[in-house]
Amino acid sequence: MLWLSASLLLGGVVFGLIKFSNNESNQTALLINTISSSDSDWVKGAKDAQVVLVEYSDFQCPACAFYFSLLKQLDQEFSNKIQFIYRHFPLKQIHVNAESAAWAAEAAGRQGKFWEMHDMIFENQATWSSQKNTEDIFLSYAQSLGLNSNQFKIDFDSNEVKEKVTNDYAGGIESEVNATPTFFLNGQKIKNPSNYDEFRNIIKEAIDSNS
């Protein structure tokens, strides 16, 4: 009886955790609606690259901030061989400031500094994530990047910027994105690598097989 209870307890833990983890990643998909897909992407790296890495990301997600540092290293190593595309997938139900951060990046993009703002938002994630009024924080980032403050505010509040974020999000849903970050390498969804070396090997393999 003692052994049976202990075995059931340990087995139940393993089974329960596997089930819980699967539900957790499916839940993010259930929170969202399906609309049309996006067409204007933020791209960096080699324009004519054979290898394209698309990231669906949420500025407020800690894992995305972690992968941001890996992507920076990948960019330094493979910038002439790979194209990076960033698409918004703000999980606003669990990350209240994720959507406004996406609008800030888009507004900066209207003045040609999407990637600079993207970096700044991720680098300072801990600062703005728990704040209530993020608009002023993002405005201060825009000012430090030398952007026109008035134009930034207009773009931040504009429907075009909001639509762009919504469309990216909808595109993610169509591509069956259900967690952030999600990466697509040449159109194929990949399992998130657990460290830089693993990520580097995946990219290197793709470059080698396309060269």
Binding site: V14, L17, S25, F66, K191, N195
Partner: protein
């Protein structure tokens, strides 16, 4: 099990019962914690990390695996072994199992010190789940030592 077998077992004193109960509790908590990290590792999901922000940095660092085996899996096996050993001791009251537990807890304790050092000074990020593991293994170490000390006293 027959009555004659039961009569061979020495009854546990209240302090032993408490110590074994605490050891079972902490080895179960440790198992839960390490199994969560192992499952997340194999499912490729990101870790839900709301208290400290450094979970993903720690869990995806190169120190998170030993020869390709995730440290979390080794942790889960460690806690599982301890839990099963405690159950075996409760069942058989075999003193050798107690001797094994009293020595086995050293592994978890020193491993935790090493991983805490790595987090604080090398990776420079703290993982909430690893802190839980450090606490459970320290508690297991303390209670494991106490249990064997009390048992030795009782046997004298």
């Amino acid at each position: 099990m027959t009555n004659s077998e039961i009569s061979l077992k020495r009854p546990l004193t209240p302090i032993h019962k408490w110590l074994i109960g605490l050891l079972l509790l902490f080895s179960f908590v440790g198992f839960l914690d390490a199994t969560y990290l192992t499952v997340q590792h194999f499912l490729g999901s990101s870790i839900n990390c709301s208290i400290f922000e450094g979970c993903n940095e720690v869990i995806t660092s190169r120190y998170a695996s030993i020869a390709g085996i995730p440290v979390a899996l080794l942790g889960a096996l460690y806690y599982c072994t301890l839990f099963i050993s405690l159950i075996a001791y409760c069942d058989t009251r075999n003193e050798r199992i107690l001797y094994f537990i009293a020595h086995f807890v050293f592994i978890g304790f020193f491993a935790s010190i090493w991983f805490l050092f790595l987090q604080l000074f090398i990776i420079k990020a703290i993982c909430f789940y690893c802190v839980i593991s450090a606490v459970t293994s320290t508690m297991l170490f303390v209670f494991g030592i106490l249990l064997s000390k009390f048992k030795k006293k009782e046997n004298k």
